[in-house]
């Protein structure tokens, strides 16, 4: 069982884990992900590999707590194990010399765009990074992104830091200014990826997005991760997760992501209750 060697809280509800897995550490390429399961009754869910250290034999994942599974992972501490940890899955992001590229990350997507940006820089591209978060305290990996890019633009939705607004505004400015952009890579909330795709469609700037549909096995066996790209059904876990943004049916993705909304609520409520009981128990233990 892979052991957690480091844990760090990057922002409220966003945690970084460094996990021992020498094989994945050696193999993984930017854009790939792992699927994990925290305990026997838990779900299998995907997380992007944000970084790896082949020498130390570790991989880094960054998780945003949005529901039960991600919260259960969030409770894990350094020294503990993760029950199942499989990867590296998915096709790597094609790293080539494109020329001038823009790497856009939103929210926890910043952690996912980071390995892509640094690989692109290493491959000799001129990399402009645009990262964003709802508010300043949710911004992660600013320093790391600064290292990985030649230029970095930071945005916050509420204007508490950097450019006031969405990541699309600096991109729009660049396009309107007539900057040469040979390729855009974008990872973040679906609505953000769709907005970016709409911006680059007119000027026909090749744009890749990393899709995040619900997955189960991650090996092309179940088809849970179906997405429509260019009118054709693809399995995101094996055909992606990167796809041509201008061909993706984002509406379908949004709908499919809501398939288990009711169940997710039930699950989360149950979990909170359990957590509540645990808190009561541990405070009783302290009191005793």
């Amino acid at each position: 069982m892979p052991r957690i060697v480091e844990k760090e809280v990057l922002a409220p509800g966003i945690k970084k884990f460094v996990v021992e897995h020498p094989l994945i550490a050696r193999k993984r390429q930017p854009g790939q992900f792992v699927i994990l399961r925290v305990h026997e009754k838990g779900e299998r869910f995907p997380l992007t590999i944000a970084d790896s250290d082949p020498e130390r034999g570790t991989v880094t994942i960054v998780v945003q707590e949005v529901g039960r599974s991600t919260m259960e992972l969030g409770l894990k501490e350094a020294g503990e194990n993760i029950l199942d940890f499989v990867g590296p899955l998915g096709k790597p992001t094609p790293i080539e010399k494109y020329g001038n590229v823009v790497c856009i990350g939103g929210g926890v997507g910043v952690a996912e765009i980071l390995p892509v940006a640094s690989a692109l820089k290493q491959a000799g591209n001129h990399v402009v990074g645009i990262i964003g978060a709802r508010t300043r305290e949710l911004l992660i990996f600013e320093e790391e992104m600064r290292q990985a890019c030649h230029e970095l633009i930071v945005c916050t939705d509420d204007g508490t830091y950097g450019v006031h607004g969405f990541v699309t505004s600096p991109l729009k400015e660049m396009i309107e200014r007539g900057d040469t952009i040979d390729h855009v890579f974008c990872i973040g909330p679906v609505l953000m990826m769709r907005a970016v795709a709409e911006l680059t469609r007119g000027p026909a700037i090749p744009t890749s997005v990393s899709l995040n549909p619900i997955m189960v096995d991650g090996t092309g066996m179940c088809g849970a991760c179906r997405v429509t790209v260019g009118g054709v059904t693809k399995f995101a876990c094996v055909d992606g997760p990167d796809f041509d943004a201008h061909e993706v049916d984002f509406d379908l993705l949004i709908k499919r992501l809501q398939q288990y909304r009711d169940e997710e609520k039930i699950s989360l409520e149950l979990f909170k209750k359990k957590l509540g009981n645990m808190a009561v128990e541990s405070s009783q233990a302290v009191a005793n």
Binding site: K27, E43, V86, G223
Partner: protein, 461 residues
């Protein structure tokens, strides 16, 4: 000679009204008395055709005689000479097409219930806790990697560990057993049986590496540097869809996803287990094989008021095991035969609300020898459903093959092998089971595993 009893000794099973509310196994299995009674029906033919009908040629009269004599453990040993997983095969083999189809009794009467006897014997041995461990010879120093922990891979592992080789099984999922653990439901094959068999192999010294995707975590070529031989038993785990409009609507599943959520991830125990599955009220399952039958019976157990099985041919052509078709009928599955989906219709939120079907008629026989279904123009009609499960078959998953240069495949994407040995187009790489045959059966996969294990052992000598 005693008078022939024309019918099989019945096997008690859960009442259909009860069992559609639980996931417990449907048949209870024979008692000792019933097993002996049934064993006595066997004529002990000097030329036992039943043996020819069994893909691994179990000494059927041999084990049945031991059952008749009350030596159940002896019978178990006899079966295990050729079949590693009798508790599984006794439950899931299509006996009516294999051993029992060839039983002489079946010409005039019901055949001997070979499958039920096999199951009884295996269960008896397991419950008695008396499975004998074979003596393992001195280590040969040879290392073999088995890819995929389905019936094919498990058989290879069992055979080669008993020859003194070092065996490691790599499995993509977190659980071992292949389709037996992710596909076939608990009510047909309890997980505990499989767990018992896997534990047994581990106790013989087989190493298991779950959560390891060959082609991703490491490639075939990397494994070949560390192992003397590889066996690829990766199954046919690529779900086919129908390519009709509406297939990506919410509430449309592949059978693989539906069954994986329910079985492997215990979705039927949600929210105690965390993986959800839609509990549809009106569920349509498309297909007529074992997979379709498992899915539609799962839908009933998840609370469906109407569980439809939509199949484009007639009942006679259904490839599912007879017993399961019968069970499905008893449980209230509504068979919609000679009907085929044209499109799936969604509501404004992207959820399935109806399925449009077209009626079919049977024409001339096709390549498979079954009469070809032909749509009847103008016969389109709709059915109200909230869940659709597509169970029209599966193909070769390209993940491992595309990551392995030099592996020859046929035009359907399945691996080409030397039928005598299981050797692929790559040196030291063998294969068998569904990745070679396409969706076949458990016992055929195990037969392939045995043949490849023999060839691997020969090669290493």
């Amino acid at each position: 000679m005693a008078k022939i009893i024309p019918e099989k000794t019945p096997m008690a099973e859960q009442d259909p009204k009860e069992r559609i509310r639980n996931f417990n196994e449907v048949p209870f299995g024979y008692t000792e008395k019933e097993a002996i009674l049934e064993a006595q029906r066997c004529l002990q033919c000097p030329k036992p055709y039943c043996v020819d009908g069994c893909p691994v040629n179990i000494d059927i009269p041999g084990f049945i005689r031991l059952v008749a004599e009350g030596d159940f453990l002896g019978a178990a040993r006899k079966i295990k000479e050729t079949n590693l997983l009798p508790a599984v095969c006794g439950r899931v083999c299509p006996q009516e097409e294999q051993c029992e189809a060839m039983c002489v009794l079946s010409k005039k009467f019901e055949p001997v219930a070979i499958g039920r006897l096999e199951r009884f014997v295996a269960d008896y041995e397991r419950q008695a806790g008396k499975a004998e461990k074979p003596a393992i010879p001195r280590p040969t120093g040879h290392r073999i990697a088995v890819v995929g922990a389905g019936p094919a891979g498990l058989t290879v592992a069992a055979d080669l560990i008993q020859k003194g080789h070092d065996v490691t099984v790599f499995e993509a999922l977190h659980a071992l057993g292949g389709v037996l653990v992710y596909g076939i439901p608990e009510f047909r094959l309890p997980k505990s049986i499989l767990q018992h068999e896997v534990n047994y192999l581990a106790s013989l010294g087989v190493d298991f590496e779950p959560s390891f995707v060959v082609g991703k975590t490491e490639t075939v070529d990397e494994l070949l540097e560390k192992y003397d031989a590889l066996f690829l038993g990766v199954g046919a785990g690529l779900p086919y869809f129908m390519r009709i409009p509406g297939e990506n609507l919410n509430g449309v599943y592949s059978a693989n996803e539906y069954l994986t959520r329910s079985n492997l991830m215990r979705g039927y125990l949600f929210p105690e287990w965390d993986t959800p599955i839609k509990r549809g009220k009106n569920v349509a399952v498309i297909g007529g094989g074992n997979t379709a039958m498992d899915a539609v019976r799962t839908a009933l157990r998840l609370g469906a008021e109407n569980a439809y099985l939509i199949y484009r041919r007639s009942r006679k052509e259904m490839p599912a095991r007879l017993e399961e078709i019968h069970h499905a009928e008893q449980e209230g599955v509504q068979f919609r035969l000679l009907e085929n989906p044209v499109r799936i219709i969604g509501d404004e939120n992207g959820w399935v609300k109806e399925i449009e079907l077209i009626s079919m008629q049977l024409g001339e026989p096709d390549e498979s020898g079954r009469r070809r279904p032909i749509p009847i123009p103008g016969s389109e009609h709709t059915l109200k459903v909230d869940t659709v499960v597509v169970a029209i078959g599966q193909g070769a998953n390209p993940l491992l093959i595309s990551a392995t240069p030099g592996l020859k495949t046929n035009r359907w994407g399945y691996l080409e092998i030397d039928p005598a040995t299981g050797l692929t187009s790559r040196e030291r790489v063998f294969a068998g089971g569904d990745i070679v045959r396409g969706g076949a059966t458990v016992i055929l996969a195990m037969g392939d595993g045995r043949r490849a294990a023999t060839a691997i052992h020969e090669m290493l000598r």
